[in-house]
């Protein structure tokens, strides 16, 4: 059944091929662009196993492809976490970074680096601190009886993010200035510049583990956007489902942060872009957000290494895009949310 949705751009049947096409295009551009540009012929030849130029093969396999795949994974993970948080908190202004989860996970990961832990343990630290952060934000919002108020949740997230930022600064102070501090500072900038194949492999299991429950329960999760009581009267175990979604979204955030540092705004922007195409049904929203998050992050990362002689950290570009969008959302909704 194809039906044109009023107010939306794309029909239900046309959306998947268009999204795949867009994502493929973004990844192709991402592979070719950079300080050492690759031509389509070089890329195709190398991928087919007959590299026209050994130098191109090294750039593609060791630098470009890991970086493009990492950008796609991180973008998809942050976008999925963003739609999940927005849906279950009934709040169009929240996202992993706005709730402070990214910064909390970053604090955990930085502590892991300070303690000299292996990669997997650093991810786990990120996850545990991310869960603690979202728990703290929800606890404060509940104590203020403001869990249902859009701006109260956002402000609680900001405060907790500031706390996590203070924790990160403290760790930097304690870190070994010759060895650990450069690693932490470099990683914190939110950049994909140093990505290796091993980093991608390390993040993949956590990202998959976070995505599986969201994909499996994708229709039912949408019902949580009505509020707990209403969802329960429709037969949904709202409390349990919400907890599962929070854990999954936080795992996705922690996995993304432990690879690339705190990359803001993707998790806020992409859900709104995707909702324009699909409307709020979570089962339609999630796949579109995954593809858009992946594509957008790949493109922004390609721009980050192409627009200037020196590479611009990815986080700066996402903030340039995301900040104005946040203000626009605020301007549009501020009257109805102020109450």
């Amino acid at each position: 059944m194809t039906r044109r949705w009023p107010g939306f751009w794309v029909s239900e049947r046309a959306a998947p091929p268009l999204l795949l096409l867009g994502l493929t295009g973004a990844m192709a551009a991402g592979v070719m662009l950079g300080p050492y540009p690759l031509s389509p012929i070089e890329v195709a030849g190398t991928l087919a196993g007959r590299p026209p130029d050994p130098q191109a093969a090294i750039v593609l396999w060791n630098i470009r492809l890991p970086r493009v795949v990492a950008a796609a994974l991180i973008g998809a993970a942050l976008a999925a976490a963003g739609v999940a948080y927005q849906t279950i908190f009934r709040n169009p202004l929240v996202a992993p970074d706005i709730l402070g989860v990214s910064q909390g996970a970053g604090f955990g990961a930085v502590l892991g680096i300070l303690l000299g832990l292996p990669v997997l343990a650093i991810q786990m630290m990120g996850f545990v601190f991310g869960v603690a952060t979202i728990g703290l934000v929800m606890g404060i919002a509940l104590a203020l009886r403001g869990m249902g108020q859009v701006l109260v949740v956002v402000l609680c997230g900001m405060a907790v993010a500031a706390l996590a930022g203070a924790g990160i600064s403290l760790v930097k102070l304690l870190a070994d200035p010759d060895d650990q501090l450069p690693a932490i500072t470099f990683w914190l900038m939110g950049s994909l510049a140093g990505i290796k194949q091993a980093d991608v492999a390390a993040a993949l299991p956590a990202i998959l583990a976070g995505l599986v429950p969201l994909i499996a329960l994708r229709w039912r999760i949408g019902l949580l956007s009505l509020g707990d009581d209403e969802a329960r009267t429709l037969g949904v175990e709202a409390g349990r489902l919400r907890l599962l979604v929070i854990l999954a979204a936080t795992l996705l955030t922690a996995a993304a942060v432990s690879v690339a540092g705190v990359i803001g705004w993707i998790g806020l922007m992409v859900p709104h872009m995707a909702r324009l195409v699909t409307g709020p049904r979570f089962d339609r929203l999630l796949p579109v957000a995954l593809a858009m998050g992946a594509g957008l992050t790949v493109l922004v990362d390609a721009a980050a290494r192409s627009i200037a002689v020196q590479e611009v950290p990815l986080g700066i570009l996402t903030a340039v895009l995301g900040g104005p969008l946040f203000l626009w959302l605020l301007a549009r909704g501020v009257r109805s949310w102020a109450e």
Binding site: L217, S225, E237
Partner: protein, 261 residues
């Protein structure tokens, strides 16, 4: 109604939250095809009673039976199959399409990993058509009027397939014409055999729509029974703490009004 199991029954029910009892000794029974109206001043505990009947709050005493089964032994989805809920207003900030909102009524019949398919869509479309709002299916609810939104929520309750529907002041925020439309739709549901439990602020509406009334005062039930018998001027005067006059209009309808001076 001798021998017929009520759709919703409360026996000696005490409700409240945080360990504080707000109402106690509440008894009620809702049967097929009947409309039971809950009347009482603001803050008396009607919403708390509703939440308890829906299994959202644990009872502080007594028991609730849905279709003869104790509520305490039913899971969320079993409760939802017996008693649907129409909230006073929608609390979602997102622009759901009307049809997608009605489709949510299928959640009780779908497994946790399932999505609604053609059968559920047909059922949702039928529910919208039954209320005469089939043309709203693709409309975004944020663009609908309060009355249309309320009708969409009614359609969702129908699609949910429960035999009883609880409505929390379904016409509170509606204009005159929409109150009449929604009121007619509610009567239509009862005519199809559904039991309707509704809170209302308007004694006239209770007298017009209701078969039975349950008057709730501070602490418990003031009176319960058929509308014409229960809703006397004396009882409403006590209930609302203001002199109330009751008149019988020519077609046998009741009209209540406050002091004229």
């Amino acid at each position: 109604m001798g021998g017929v199991t009520p759709l919703v029954e409360a026996r000696g029910l005490a409700v409240g939250h945080g360990g504080r009892t707000i109402l106690s000794g509440v008894g009620l029974s809702l049967h097929h095809g009947r409309i039971l109206c809950l009347l009482g001043p603001n803050g008396v505990g009607k919403t708390t009673l509703f939440r308890t009947l829906l299994g959202l709050l644990p009872p502080l005493g007594g028991e609730v039976l849905l279709g003869g089964s104790p509520l305490a032994g039913l899971g969320r989805s079993q409760v939802a199959q017996r008693l649907a809920y129409v909230p006073q207003s929608l609390a979602t900030p997102f622009a759901w399409r009307a049809l997608d909102l009605v489709l949510m009524g299928a959640a009780t019949r779908l497994g946790p990993f399932a999505r609604p398919g053609p059968a559920e869509t047909a059922r949702a479309e039928a529910a919208l058509a039954l209320l005469g709002i089939g043309d709203l299916a693709t409309a975004e609810i944020t663009r609908l009027s309060g009355g249309q939104r309320q009708m969409v929520l009614l359609a969702r309750a129908i699609a949910q397939g429960a035999e009883a529907i609880a409505m929390d002041e379904p016409t509170a925020s509606l204009d005159f014409a929409n109150r009449i439309r929604v009121g007619k739709a509610i009567r239509g549901l009862a005519a199809r055999g559904l039991g309707v439990l509704m809170c209302t602020h308007d004694p006239d509406q209770a007298a017009e729509l209701g078969d039975e009334a349950l008057l709730i005062e501070r602490g418990g039930v003031l009176a319960a029974g058929p509308v014409a018998e229960v809703m006397t001027a004396a009882r409403l005067t006590r209930l609302y703490d203001i002199p109330v006059r009751r008149e019988a209009l020519p077609e046998g309808r009741l009209h209540f009004s406050g002091p004229s001076d």
